[in-house]
């Protein structure tokens, strides 16, 4: 999620009200642009996993936070296809810690907005937005408090 799609810069806020989710449309005349998911909590120990960055780099980043960064817990987030990678990272961290790390996973649904822009601006097509849901996972990777 670090690298925003090019689509995110051409958001048209005034079109956000025209929510018409069930409209049939001709796929030829519209370009589908996916917006970024909105409102991401971003603390220093939040890691958002994506499918563009190299897996090892993301794993190393988490390891660095836990070992060098002095964090007792980090939160690994994954959305859609990146859920698998987020789980993999969390399990790898746990395996390489020889059981010192624990995982606590939560799941959620994230609402995503797609923009539909008419290909040909001269045509009568109206720009539209469509919302859909996608699943997400949030894994807390932490050293349990000694008790």
């Amino acid at each position: 999620m670090r690298t925003p799609y090019n689509a995110s810069n051409i958001l048209l806020p005034e079109h956000a009200e025209n929510k018409q989710p069930a409209v049939e449309m001709d796929p030829v005349e519209y370009t589908l642009r996916k917006r970024l998911p909105r409102k991401l909590p971003k603390r220093r120990n939040d890691v958002y996993v994506n499918m563009k960055t190299d897996f090892r780099a993301q794993l190393a980043r988490c390891q660095k936070l836990l070992e060098g960064g002095g964090h007792r817990e980090i939160c690994v987030h994954g959305l859609g296809l990146a859920i698998n990678r987020a789980i993999n990272i969390a399990l790898q961290l746990q395996a390489s810690s020889q059981g010192a790390l624990q995982l606590a996973a939560n799941t959620s649904t994230v609402e995503l907005v797609d923009d539909l822009e008419p290909e040909d601006p001269d045509e009568a097509g109206e720009p539209m937005t469509r919302t859909r849901n996608n699943s997400a996972i949030h894994i807390k990777v932490f050293y349990p408090d000694p008790q």
Partner: protein
């Protein structure tokens, strides 16, 4: 993947789910070594190109992630090719106890608990199923567990037929327990009911509060650093639409 595309009612698929009612759901006590019924595309190993053919794929018995769970709990094993409408049609009917589904442990209001498990590429689908069920049934307690599952594959040479290779692979798997009865909130991976969409926002408050109570001796105040980071994040070109 898309939670929204599921038809609102299960009624359409009920005839279907009754007919293959035994298939998608496997009760906990069934045989642990079950050959996968799905034709799984060959993995990224080089074996396929070197004249080897996968003849067998078995999932090794992994410990149940929920110790102390009653043995009669409905377990939905989500596979890569499972259709969400089939899974949900069956699971919703059992949880809601509609249409006189007879089975062990079914009382008036349907089952109390259900477990969704899936591994590899079925993980996303598993989460989606759990999310749909939470939304439809409401006030369900959730416990999520992650673990590696060991898959044993037997590869056979396509030329000779004599040489065989056994490959052990680990795939990430997820198990989600949804319960109408309260679960232990101290257990890692517990989620109370009705944290559907509030999770993102809520997490901020909850976790920064817990950071504060733990008094971690690192960096500046968690609150100040957090807002700073957030503002920087917004400046990077992420959607700046006001929440609606």
């Amino acid at each position: 993947m898309e939670n929204g595309v599921i038809p609102g009612t299960c009624a359409v698929y009920q005839g279907q789910t009754h007919s293959n009612a035994g298939q998608p759901a496997v009760v906990n006590v069934s045989s642990p070594l079950k050959p996968a019924p799905l034709p799984i595309p060959p993995p990224a190993l080089k074996l396929g190109q070197e004249g080897f053919k996968k003849v067998c794929r078995t999932e090794e018995d992994s410990p149940c992630p929920f110790p102390g769970l009653a043995s009669g709990v409905l377990e939905m094993r989500v596979k890569e090719g499972s259709k969400i409408r089939n899974l949900m049609g069956f699971a919703m009917a059992r949880m809601q106890g509609e249409k006189g589904v007879s089975g062990g442990g079914v009382t008036g209001g349907g089952l109390r608990q259900v477990v969704f498990t899936g591994s590899g590429r079925a993980v996303t689908k598993t989460i989606t199923c759990a999310e749909i069920m939470k939304r439809k049934v409401g006030s369900l307690h959730q416990l999520t567990k992650l673990q590696y599952k060991v898959v044993k594959e037997v590869w056979e040479s396509t030329e000779g037929g004599t040489s065989e290779m056994t490959v052990h692979r680990t795939v990430p798997s997820i198990s989600i327990l949804l319960s109408k009865d309260p679960l232990d909130p101290q257990e890692p991976g517990y989620q109370p009911p009705e944290t559907l969409s509030a999770l993102w926002e809520e997490k901020e408050g909850v976790e920064s509060a817990s950071q504060k109570t733990c008094k971690r001796p690192l960096g500046p105040l968690p609150y100040s650093s957090f807002t700073h980071c957030k503002r920087m994040c917004l400046g990077e070109g992420v959607s700046v639409l006001p929440p609606q």
